[in-house]
């Protein structure tokens, strides 16, 4: 094929919209400036000092903690679901799969509000005599995260499980392995790339969410996303905001390199 020239505008576009702002973000992180201008820019390590303040490093730790727990629960629920769907001969399998995506088309903020309304002490559940009163508890935040990000775990795993040649599984049981050992030695290793993509695709959005933790914790919990949002939208401290975002971008680059190792074609990312 001789259409190489189609790529060049895209390279310029990516340099302009990814690489240049990334470099500028790095510059802002280690300097002081008024807003987003070069005029008053001077080197400073103030932001680096600021990140060690309790509020901020706690937010980073909480992001890892909440994102991590939500991801593990998504994996524990998502893997069996993907497994059941991938190997079932259910007539309406495609429909079941599509119905897993449908909730993600429903507005995310409204789904968060729906959980919030259920978790408040006074809710529509009162009419059947229940008051959950979960707002402000870690459980509320975790349930919300799992409910919203679960499809991103199920899909990549389903994609790889569906491609597994079932004769491999039959061969393994013909050779005497128990179903459980077959799973451990054949199916699980063959689905690693899907698991890794799934983990990354659920961990990143849940650890960087800001509307969800703010609403479901009743404003008590601050994750890294809340800090970034405040810096850019309320206190307009672009320098400190950039430094925090830079931390996120570096984590993402590491994850991208892991995905590249297990799935260079990006088949599990859709």
């Amino acid at each position: 094929m001789k259409y190489k020239s189609f790529v060049y505008p895209y390279l310029i576009w990516m340099v302009l919209l990814v690489i240049i702002p990334f470099l500028f973000m790095a510059l802002l992180s280690f300097s002081k400036s008024t807003g987003l201008s070069f005029d008053s820019l001077e080197f400073s390590l103030e932001n680096v000092k600021k990140i060690s303040e309790t509020v901020y490093y706690k937010a980073i730790l909480n992001s890892l903690l909440y994102g991590g727990i939500a991801t593990i629960i998504c994996l524990l629920i998502g893997y069996p679901v993907a497994y059941v769907l991938a190997f079932s001969k259910f007539k309406y399998k495609t429909l079941a799969l599509v119905l897993i995506i449908v909730p993600t088309w429903s507005n995310m903020l409204l789904r968060i509000i729906a959980w919030e309304k259920l978790f408040l002490p006074n809710s529509i559940l009162n009419s059947i005599g229940i008051s959950l009163d979960l707002i402000g508890t870690p459980l509320a935040v975790i349930i919300g995260m799992v409910s919203i990000y679960l499809p991103f775990m199920i899909f990549p795993i389903y994609t790889v499980l569906e491609k597994i040649d079932t004769s491999l599984i039959e061969a393994s049981s013909d050779l005497g392995l128990t179903p459980f050992k077959t799973f451990l030695k054949v199916t699980l290793p063959l689905s690693t790339s899907g698991i890794i993509s799934g983990i990354i695709m659920t961990f990143l959005p849940s650890a960087t969410a800001f509307a969800l933790p703010a609403r479901l914790s009743g404003g008590k919990l601050q994750l890294i996303g809340n800090i970034i949002e405040t810096q850019f939208k309320t206190s307009f401290n672009y320098n400190f905001g950039s430094l925090i975002s830079l931390v996120v971008v570096i984590v993402i680059l590491i994850m991208l390199s892991i995905i590249y190792r297990v799935d260079s074609k990006g088949e599990t990312l859709l």
């Binding site: 094929m1 259409y3 190489k4 790529v7 060049y8 895209y10 990516m14 302009l16 919209l17 990814v18 240049i20 702002p21 500028f24 973000m25 998502g78 069996p80 679901v81 497994y83 059941v84 007539k91 309406y92 429909l95 599509v98 449908v102 909730p103 993600t104 088309w105 429903s106 507005n107 409204l110 789904r111 509000i113 729906a114 309304k117 006074n122 809710s123 529509i124 009419s127 409910s147 679960l150 199920i154 990143l204 509307a211 970034i228 850019f232 939208k233 672009y238 950039s242 975002s245 996120v248 971008v249 993402i252 995905i259 590249y260 260079s264 074609k265 990006g266 088949e267 990312l269 859709l270």
Partner: protein
């Protein structure tokens, strides 16, 4: 796995996914505006969707941005994917890796990087910046869905077209594009739904009062100006999509049976 745990885990997952959808549905018929108790059943919020001019304006904005960004990103993404597949293996993989970066990237950091570059370029925040940001995050998904079709393509197909007298561009739109059509359609659909649903990237890359549906909701969270008509609109869209999908699926299953 045994039958019962199998069904249980799937049902549990569906309950987690659909509980909020059901609650949104209930709140859309609930006369209480705050939604902290159940008043009476009403269709008021449905009739008010378009009477509420700020909400209907936001819905229209969402649709305009989604249509325009889908068309542009589908065309651009398809051509870029074809370009990427014109390269040999190692450069091709490097290009695909670059393309995966925005896909894996967390919404908030995509949002911040775009916000920074748009301010540096001196763009006026509003429709244009939101549209550009949607095109930016949609293109990689179009490329990802077109790529598998290109990989499956017979390499001699284009040579044959050219030998038979097509020029480079005729070969492109008469042979290549029709044979990767399904990938292009999938890519377009993904781009459209991503754009309709986006909140984070739009929130950081809009300004001057240009709202989409998500921003409209976010700006009114916990305020009196929030109207349950948002639940009504959302439920309407959900019901229509589910109905469409179920009908389409039943038809395909029936066709397969024949």
């Amino acid at each position: 796995m045994k039958k019962i745990p199998k069904v249980l885990i799937v049902v549990f997952a569906f309950a987690l996914l659909y509980l909020p959808i059901i609650v949104i549905g209930i709140l859309s018929f609930n006369s209480s505006q705050v939604g902290s108790n159940f008043g009476t059943i009403t269709a008021r919020w449905y009739t008010e969707i378009f009477a509420n001019s700020s909400l209907s304006g936001a819905i229209v904005n969402t649709l305009i941005v989604a249509f325009v960004s889908t068309i542009i990103s589908t065309i651009a993404g398809t051509l870029i994917a074809i370009g990427i597949y014109s390269f040999r293996n190692s450069s091709r993989n490097r290009l695909l890796l670059l393309n995966n970066f925005p896909v894996v990237n967390a919404d908030i950091s995509t949002a911040i990087t775009l916000m920074i570059i748009f301010s540096l370029l001196g763009l006026r925040f509003g429709f244009t910046t939101m549209l550009l940001s949607h095109i930016f995050f949609s293109i990689p998904f179009v490329i990802l869905s077109v790529a598998p079709r290109l990989r499956e393509l017979d390499k001699d197909l284009l040579d044959a077209a050219i030998d038979l007298g097509c020029n480079k561009f005729q070969a492109l739109y008469k042979v290549l594009i029709p044979s990767i059509r399904t990938g292009i359609i999938t890519g377009g659909l993904i781009a459209f739904t991503m754009s309709i649903d986006d909140f984070v990237i739009s929130w950081f890359n809009t300004g001057n009062g240009f709202d989409n549906f998500s921003i409209w909701i976010y700006a009114r969270l916990g305020r009196k100006t929030f109207s349950p008509s948002a639940y009504a609109y959302n439920s309407l869209v959900t019901i229509i999509t589910i109905a469409g999908l179920v009908i389409y699926n039943l038809k395909t299953v029936r066709r397969l049976k024949k």
